[in-house]
Every structure is written in structure tokens, then in C-alpha cells.
């Protein structure tokens, strides 16, 4: 590990992770230490396993029948694949934002209030209102929707929907926020808004973002991991990956020769 990582806390520690989809070996012996209050980007060509690996961190792969995960992932030192760990509670701690904005067919308010209601984070309506407002503010959406909180979330524009999904994930007070290509369905303006938001969220969470766009990884992240064909090829400071990568495959990818 680099010097900087020694000074920061390791939030997520993944060791020797293998993932199989049926017979397909999707992730091959990946180990990575993710720091707290940092944006970590996973980059790599399509099908390299970066999203699969992301979904290991909140055990979303459990919902796919044929997926099998081996290895150890610990958050704050606790093994999340321990049989005593309830994946449902884990996912409350590890929020996720998906590739396509997926607001529930409910009002904007109910979308954000969904998680807090399920986890009983508020004792009364006033507290819930407060959580919803705070989350929408952190999602940089409050000013745009404060007058129409009870209109359906599906009526918002694509960029607003994605920020609503981020606000929804933030509302459950997670410790880690996983983002699976959060900007791939958005236009450049909405992308810029979401990226700005990611940078702010770094104050409170450890953010892991999967992205197709190397420019995006360079803009938002402090650490970058490069995945290729199910292997993690290189993991280092973002600046170093983009200016002086050690592995020739990384260099080919960032200079546009492969992928």
C-alpha cells in the first residue's frame, strides 16, 4: 500500500474475491483496500467484471440465483459474508445507485422517505420531513422539487431522477455509497451535476464508482482500480494511473489502444 493509504482508514477490505456466474468465472482473485472518505473509481472495458465486483460489496449478487462469491470482504473489519450477517442490514449500511435511474412509482417525497420508513429512522412526520429535506439537499435536488414533493418521481427528467435516486440512497444514512455507472444514462449537463454531487458526498461517505468514462474517473476519484477480463490489473492513486501506470495493459487502455 502507498503511504497515503496508511494515513487513512481502510473502510472496505476485499481479499481474494472470485465470482462465478454458473460456469463463467467473472472475477478472478481480486483484492482491494478501499479507503474511507474517498472516491474510488473502477474502470475497465465492458464485461471486465467491475460492476460484478461492486455488487459483491453490498451482496446484491445474492439476489442472482446462479452467482457464487468466494473470498473475504470486510467493512470496518467485519466480514460481510459471515453467515451471521443479514444481507438486508448490510444493504442499509451500503447504499447503491444504479446505472439507470430507477425511482419508484411513488411521489418524490415517498421515494426519499422509503428507506428511512423501512428502517424506522424517524419517530414522527416532522422528523421524516426533515430527513427528506436534508437528503434532497444533499442530492442537490431540493431547490428544483421543493414545491412539488408530492408529484410522482417518474415525472422528473433523467438527471433529476438520478439525483433523486442518490438522495434516496443517502436518506438511509449509509456508510458506503456504491455507484454503478451513475451517469451513463445522463446528458453532459446532468453528468456534471452528479459529478459535483459525488465530490460533496466524499465528505461523509466512502464512495465507490464504476464508470466507463476515463475522464470521469480522472475528474471525480482519488483512487482508481483498472479491471481487465475479470482481473484487477492495477490499483493506485488516480493521478498515477492516468499519468504513469505501471502495467502495460493499463497504459494501453487509458491511451485508447484497447477496450
Amino acid at each position: 500500500m502507498k503511504d497515503t493509504s496508511m494515513t487513512k482508514n481502510i473502510k472496505i477490505s476485499a481479499n481474494n474475491i472470485d465470482v462465478y456466474y454458473g460456469d463463467k468465472h467473472a472475477i478472478k482473485d481480486v483484492s482491494v483496500q478501499i479507503e474511507d472518505k474517498t472516491v474510488t473509481a473502477f474502470i475497465g472495458p465492458s464485461g471486465c467484471g467491475k460492476s460484478t465486483f461492486l455488487r459483491c460489496i453490498n451482496r446484491m449478487n445474492d439476489t442472482i440465483d446462479i452467482a457464487r462469491v468466494t473470498g473475504h470482504i470486510a467493512i470496518d473489519g467485519e466480514d460481510i459474508y459471515d453467515p451471521r450477517v443479514d444481507p438486508v442490514q448490510l444493504r442499509a449500511k451500503v447504499g447503491m445507485v444504479f446505472q439507470k435511474p430507477n425511482p419508484f412509482p411513488k411521489s418524490i417525497y415517498d421515494n426519499v422517505a422509503y428507506g428511512p420508513k423501512i428502517h424506522g429512522l424517524s419517530r414522527n412526520k416532522a422528523e421524516l420531513d426533515e430527513i427528506v429535506e436534508k437528503s434532497l439537499r444533499r442530492g442537490a435536488l431540493w431547490e428544483e422539487v421543493k414545491d412539488r414533493l408530492h408529484e410522482p418521481g417518474t415525472g422528473l427528467s433523467g438527471g433529476q431522477q438520478q439525483r433523486l435516486c442518490i438522495a434516496r440512497a443517502v436518506a438511509t444514512e449509509p456508510e458506503v455509497l456504491l455507484m454503478d455507472e451513475p451517469c451513463s444514462a445522463l446528458d453532459p449537463i446532468a453528468t456534471a451535476q452528479v459529478e459535483e454531487l459525488i465530490d460533496e458526498l466524499r465528505q461523509s461517505f466512502s464512495v465507490v464508482i464504476v464508470t466507463h468514462s476515463m475522464q470521469q474517473a480522472a475528474r471525480v476519484s482519488q483512487k482508481t482500480a483498472f479491471f481487465h477480463l475479470g482481473n484487477m490489473v492495477e490499483y493506485d492513486e488516480t493521478d498515477k494511473i492516468f499519468t504513469n501506470p505501471e502495467d502495460p495493459r493499463t497504459e494501453s487502455y487509458i491511451s485508447g489502444r484497447i477496450g
Binding site: V88, R91, N102, F104, P105, Y114, C165
Partner: protein, 401 residues
Amino acid sequence: MSLTLPLLFIAALSVGGFFIARSRAQSAAGGDIRKLASLPRQHGLNTALSTAIPALFAILAWLFAARLLSYRETAPIWVPLAIIVIATLGFILSVMRVSVTFRARTAAEGWIRSLLIGASVIAILTTVGIVFSMLFESINFFSQYRWQDFFFSTNWSPNFRGNSDLGILPLLWGTLYISVIALIFAVPIGLFAAVYLSEYASRRTRSVFKPLIEILAGIPTIVYGLFALVTVGPFLRDYLAQPTGFGDSASSVMTAGLVMGIMLIPFVSSLSDDIINAVPQSLRDGSLGLGSTHSETIRQVVLPAALPGIVGAILLAASRAIGETMIVVLGAGAAARLDLNPFEAMTTVTVKIVSQLTGDTDFASPETLVAFALGLTLFVITLALNVLALYIVRRYREQYE
């Protein structure tokens, strides 16, 4: 002269026209097919359709006119002749038009479109025809019987010597009572089965369970009726109605409602299953990703998203229940009665339509004509339910497209 001969003539000329026009097009091209504006087979198709379609429409028009004019004998000789002339004209004109520049594809597509329009017009006209035939007989009925008595009298006692009480209320009551009981059985069972099949069952279990449930939909209703008569009716009487003092009738609203409920289970479960499956996986992922359990996800995200579609499915099942006859005849009996006791025999509108029209009847007395008024009332009720169901289902579709 019958119309068989012209029909054969049209078929022969049409098939022959296809090959003639095709070879004419080929020779017009002079070996280089790319000179043609349309392919040879499109010229052939155009000729075949130009020959057949106007002649077939002419036959339909004659049949319709003959019916309107109450012309009951076979068609006079000029009719088949005229049809043959129309077919021949279509044949000659289209064969003459075969040339290098003629766009036969456009013309043939025009004919095909007229065929499609014709098919949908026939479907609509049939519906209109059914409604009108009911409407005329109903008007006939109301000229002999006061509509206030029909709609608001609580007494149904037809008497073929005249002077009957023909109030629809006991029949409507029976219909609604039985349908509601059927839905009370069918909706929870069907819905829970659908939730299990679409959300919990493995692919393999689903592939076994779904067809098994759908077998229920393939059973003829008369077989359900026998089941009600022989098994469910006596069972309910011996173990529920008699011990609790509700009565000792084997035919009862409960029997018919229960069996009809079983009949409706596959409707509700199959439609709801499709609708629940149409809820995007991304919504489930979103909910699970926020740390909600599988059942919270189903209750708070999947079912609300699918609700309009499920309501549509239930309303479709309801209109099935309202129109059902055989199960009621065998399960609930034929006695018109306004009663709250679910273990009492009652009957429905459809059963009474059948009984008013069976036997030696003339179509002039209010006792038989009432059947049409009953049918029309029922039609209006189920139509309203279907329109409501379609409206709700459509609103649901707009949400995800």
C-alpha cells in the same frame, strides 16, 4: 344459381392471374429484372388480389342486401354473372397494367389494406348487430311491460298465462352476490399464487406450477357445475349450513360462488403474474439496495407498481363471473330470491335468460321478450366493467413506456 360456381371461378382466375401477370412482368423486363419498378411476384400478387377482392366484397354486399330485403330464395341469375364480370374486369385491367414502370407493390399493398379494413369492419358490425338485435327486442318488451316495474320491482314470478311479475332486482342481487363471493375466494388465492410464482418460485417450480394452474382455465364450466352439484353443494350443506342452522339446501349462493371462485383463480393468477413480471427488475434492485427485505419490496414497491394492472385483471375476472351460467344452474339453483343468507338457493340473470327462452315459446309475450331486456342490462354492466378495466390497464402501461 348458387354462389359456389362464381366462388370457384374467382379462385381459379385469381390463381391463374398470379402466374400470368408474373410471366408478363418477366417478359416485359426482357431478362433484366432490375428494370422493373416492382418484382414479378408483386405484379402477380396485384393481379390475384385485384381479381379476388372486389368480387368477394360484391358477394358480401349481395348477401347483406338480400338479408335486408328479406330475399329468401337463391340469388337470381344476374348476381353470379355480375360477380364473374367484376372478377374478370379486375383480372383484365390489372394484367393490362403490367409494365416496366407500374408500381405493383404499392397497388397490392392497397388491396391488402382494404382486406384488413374489411376484416375489422366485419368485427365491429357484428358487435353493432348484436346490440341492435337486443335493443329492438328490448324496446318491444318495454312497450308491453312498464320499465319501472322491470328495474325496480323486487318480485320475479313469470307466468306464461300472462300477468307476471318481472322485476330484475332479485336476479341482479343473485348475480352480484354470487360474483362477489366468487371474487372473495378467487382474488386472494389468485393474487398470492401470482406473487409466489413470480417472486419466490424457482424457474423450475414455476414451469410446473403455472401450467397446472392454467389447466383450471381449460375445464368446461359445465364440469365445474357438476363438481358444485355433486361435491361442494352437499359438503357445504352437511358440514356448514345444517350444523349452524343456516338452512338445508344443497344449492346455494355459497356453493356457486365457491366453485366459480375456483374457476376464476387461473384468470387472476395468470394475468397478475404477467403484470408482476412486467414490473422492471431495476425497481426491485433499487428497493433491495436500500436494505429492504424481499417481502417489503413486494408489498411496498412491486405490488403498488403492478396495482392498476391487477385491478384490471380483477375486473376482467368479475365480468367473467357476472356472465357465468352453468355453474349457477347446477350450484345455486333457479329460484329467484332476494335474501342475505348465503346458504339459500338463488339465481342469476343469465340463468333466467335461459329458462325464459327454453320450451315452447312465442317471441311476442313479455315473458320471453324479458330475456332480451335482461341480456341487454347484463351486456351494459359487463361492458362498463370491461371499459373500466381497459382504462385502468392502459393507465398502467403508460407508466413504464
